[in-house]
Every structure is written in structure tokens, then in C-alpha cells.
Symmetry: C2
């Protein structure tokens, strides 16, 4: 699987990205229960929450990390879908009235607005399960013991010491004065853990050795924070129409953000530093890491 380590650097980044987004959309569609299948309303709502939107940043990272080791895209669809389903479930639950109480997501009404609260609760629950179900389908050519490691990795990243824990910390932080270290601690869990999992799952598919996993882990920690800093900058600067979700909401809810704590200019310079650190962490991989380099820049330069 990891024989051919050549990445087609001739292919334009935009073309590569569009290709991965498209195949991820198809793979998500195939992984979700068919719309007419009973219970139909639940399945319809699951599909509503997942399909037809999203930048698919985590699947892109998973595919980009796998491409370092020459893994074929077909072998990366399952982990890419699994991590995106975890992300999707977290958004559905995060939008619920008892959490962020948000009505707009990816330019559409949130799941509990379009359906109802109880359905949205079950949608999140079932999407999480579906993530593990997808990753527990045997991946051809991969040692079963390695696949169990991947399931362990995804669970650890998603649970109370990872993403769900980060949301609990976020919840406790509303209205609180956080310093930069506390804010970083929150984001390392809330968004960082799953971004790291996306990168490492892709690398696991390439039977990556421990030192490569360590290096990619350090890279992922940087872009996880980078992603959040940029998000805070966008939230402070962009309009609701551009974002596709309610803009300025963090400030309105008195949530701590990098922009609140550091100010806009220093937040931007922090983003620049993280971007450079991320590139540096990839350096030993050379050319095969081109997609991860490009994605790092993309995370900074995205305007949506």
C-alpha cells in the first residue's frame, strides 16, 4: 500500500481538493443509511446534517496525510468519513438549545430547527455510532491490529479527554476570563483532538512508523490551533452571509476568543507563527507532504 510514495504534485491543489471533497461526499452518502430506510425521519435528518455542505477539512487532512505514504485514496475514504461523521455529530449537538442554541449552520437551518430537538439529539447519537461502524469495516490490506489502533485513536480523540471534554471546558468558560494558556487548553481538546486524529488516521493507513506519527502529531497540534485562531479572526471580521453561520456570535455570547484576548493584530501574528511552525514540522517529509503544506496555507487563506 505504501509502495509508491510519489504525490502527483503536478495536479493543481484546487483540483485535488475538489476531487477529495467530491469522493468524500459520495463516501458519506454511501456510509449513511438510505433516505427511505426505516426509521425514515431519523435517516433523513442524519443525511440533512451531514451531506451537501462543509469544507471537509478533516477528510482533506486525512487524505493529505495518507498521500505522504503513497496510500491510495480508496483506502482513506473510511477513516476520512469516520472522522467527518464525528465532526458532524458534534455540530448537531453543539447547536442544540441547551448548548450554543444556534439556528443557522452551513447556510441552512440547524438540525433541531429543521426537524425537532429530540430528533437532533438522536441524529448526533447515531452519527457518532455510524463513525465507529464505518471504521470497524475491515480495510483491505491493513493489519487488523493496526485498525484496532485506529479505532482506539478515534475514540480517544472524540471522548471526554478529547473533543467532548473540550466542549465541557468551553461550556464552563462562557462568561469567564481565560488567559491564553487556558484558551489553548480548551481548543487543543475541542477542535485540536479531532484534527489530530484526522491526520494520524491517514498516516496509520500508510503503516507510518512511530517517529513519523510523532512528527505528524506535532504538525497537527499546530494546525489545530491555527484553525481556531483563524476561525476567531473570521468570526470577528466576516458577515453572517459569508460565514454561513451566525457571525459575531462568540463575542455576543461573551465567549473567550483569541481576538478578544489578544486583539485582532496579535491574533493575526499568532496565526502567522503557527503556520510557519506547521510547515517546519513537515519539512523532514520533503515533497510527499505537499498536500499538507498546501492545506496549511489554505486554512489561513480561506475566506469562508
Amino acid at each position: 500500500m505504501a509502495a509508491d510514495r510519489q504525490v502527483d504534485t503536478l495536479m493543481n491543489f484546487q483540483t485535488w481538493m475538489a476531487g477529495i471533497q467530491q469522493r468524500t461526499e459520495s463516501a458519506l452518502d454511501a456510509a449513511l443509511p438510505a433516505p427511505g430506510l426505516a426509521p425514515a425521519r431519523l435517516h433523513e435528518a442524519m443525511r440533512y446534517a451531514v451531506l451537501g455542505g462543509g469544507k471537509r477539512v478533516r477528510p482533506l487532512l486525512c487524505h493529505a496525510a495518507g498521500s505522504i505514504f503513497g496510500v491510495e485514496a480508496g483506502a482513506l475514504d473510511a477513516p476520512a468519513v469516520a472522522v467527518e461523521l464525528i465532526h458532524a455529530y458534534s455540530l448537531v449537538h453543539d447547536d442544540l438549545p441547551c448548548m450554543d442554541d444556534d439556528v443557522l449552520r452551513r447556510g441552512k437551518p440547524t438540525c433541531h430547527v429543521e426537524f425537532d430537538e429530540a430528533t437532533a439529539l438522536l441524529v448526533g447519537d447515531a452519527l457518532q455510532t455510524q463513525a465507529f461502524q464505518v471504521l470497524a469495516n475491515r480495510i483491505p490490506g491493513l493489519a487488523p491490529a493496526r485498525q484496532i489502533d485506529m479505532l482506539q485513536l478515534l475514540a480517544t480523540a472524540s471522548g471526554s479527554r478529547g473533543m467532548a471534554g473540550g466542549q465541557a471546558i468551553d461550556l464552563a468558560a462562557v462568561g469567564q476570563q481565560l488567559d491564553i494558556a487556558e484558551l489553548e487548553y480548551m481548543h487543543i481538546h475541542k477542535t485540536g483532538a479531532l484534527i489530530r486524529a484526522a491526520v494520524l488516521l491517514g498516516a496509520h493507513c500508510g503503516e507510518a512508523m512511530p517517529d513519523a506519527l510523532d512528527r505528524l502529531g506535532r504538525f497537527a497540534n499546530r494546525i489545530g490551533l491555527l484553525f481556531q485562531v483563524v476561525d476567531d479572526i473570521l468570526d470577528a471580521e466576516a458577515s453572517t452571509a459569508t460565514l454561513g453561520k451566525t457571525a459575531g456570535k462568540d463575542a455576543a455570547q461573551n465567549k473567550p476568543t483569541y481576538v478578544n484576548i489578544l486583539g485582532l493584530n496579535e491574533a493575526k501574528s499568532m496565526a502567522g507563527k503557527l503556520r510557519q511552525d506547521a510547515h517546519d514540522a513537515l519539512a523532514p517529509f520533503g515533497d510527499p507532504a505537499v498536500r499538507l503544506h498546501e492545506l496549511t496555507d489554505f486554512i489561513v487563506e480561506r475566506t469562508f
Copy 2:
């Protein structure tokens, strides 16, 4: 692992049951994050929702099924804990205001009453993740490919075509007139799928062959329904104090139950028939199935 197929039938059922309940409590305690670990409030709430209560029917079934094949109890703790964590998460979410809106569970305030709604939401989310994390720890002596099958089995039983789907059907059924076939369809998903998973996970630990798995699957389908019929009978007959949860609530909410549809007497005769079918399905296993026979009787005769 499956060498010694002898079950210690001399040990009293009550003693065996108390032993499994005790070791399950210890294993759950060990599987859950320590109470002081950050985020402390989330971890405290997770432990509140899981520990110190519950009959542990699913772990008992898992251990009893494993004992047919001579599996040592130590090898059954992980699947027993995983299935109980899924059950516990479903109860926390089921009790939320947007679902059953219940305030009492196992004689204690429900999780969202004791803590708050957002925390209870995250508790359920994180308990589900923890279930997969526990089952993705390598089980010594078990082939990794078999363990992946077990993860697939647990996910399938828990998701939108299993337990979560059953809750969606239940939700849609409130205030509806269901016939007995529709009610059975709901319960096969809502409670039956996870009970079946508990039995089959135990059997998988014993490297059970397909015909034994089929037979145990049929047994589990019977006791899954049996469990629900008995629950409905208890709900109709018992007091809140005895149940440790709000009694007569199903009827008050106009939820379809076996007692509503069949009447108390016919529900009891249905329970008798299911009990006999369950025993019959176990017959080919002979003596080693003694614990499953005893558990079948226990499900019918329990008064709590």
C-alpha cells in the same frame, strides 16, 4: 481461552450474579476517567450516571454467554463494560427534557436534574465514545480480526438501525395506536438490539462458531422481548418506590405498551411463552448454558 467448558454449576446463581455485578462495577469504575481528572464536572457526571446502580443485565448476559464456551471472566469484562456504557448513555439521553423528560432513575435524580442539561448531553456523548474506547483496547488471546467484528457488532446494535433507531420509532409512536407487530418492531430495536449484542459479544470472546452465534441470536431475540414485556407488566403493577423510576409513566404519556395492547393477563401469558422459547433455544448447549437459563428466569421473576 475456550478450553475449559465447564461451568461451576455448584455455585449458587445469586452468588454468581453478585460476583459478576461486583466485578462489573469495578471494571466500570476503572474504565471511567478518575473523578478529579479534568474536565472534572463532566467526569463526575459520567460516573454519577453509570456507577452505583443498575441491575447490570447486559453484563450478566455477556458473562453468561461467554461461560458457555469456558471464557474466563477477566476476558469478558471489556465487552460487558462496553455494552453497559452504551446502555447508560442511552438512559441519560432518554431522560432529557426533549425526550422522556424524566426526573428519577435508579432512585436518584436523573443526570440533567443533578447536573444540567448541557452536561447531561455531553455525558451521554462521552459515555458512548468510552464504550468504543474500552472495546478497542486489545483483548489478550483474542484474534484482532475477531475484535473488529465485535466493534462492528456493538456499533450496528447501537446505531440508527438498532437502539438509536428504536428510540426514534418510540418517539414517533407516542400517542399512536400500534398493533402488536409494530410494538415488537420497536422493541426489537430499542432494547432488543443491545441485549442481543451483549449475548453475542460474550460468545465472540469464546470464538463461537456461526451456528452457535445464530442460536444465541435467536435466544437473545426472545429474551429481549421478554425483558420488555416484563418491564411493561412491572410498570403497570409496581409502585414508584419499588421501581426506582417513575411508575405508570408509560400509560400516563400514552405510550403503547404490551399491557395496553394485550391487557395484563395476556401480556403475562406472552411472557410465559417467550420464556419457554428462550429455554428451548438454549437446549442444544446443554449444561454450560445454565447461567443463561437462570438469567432467563431471573428476568421474569425480578421484582425490581
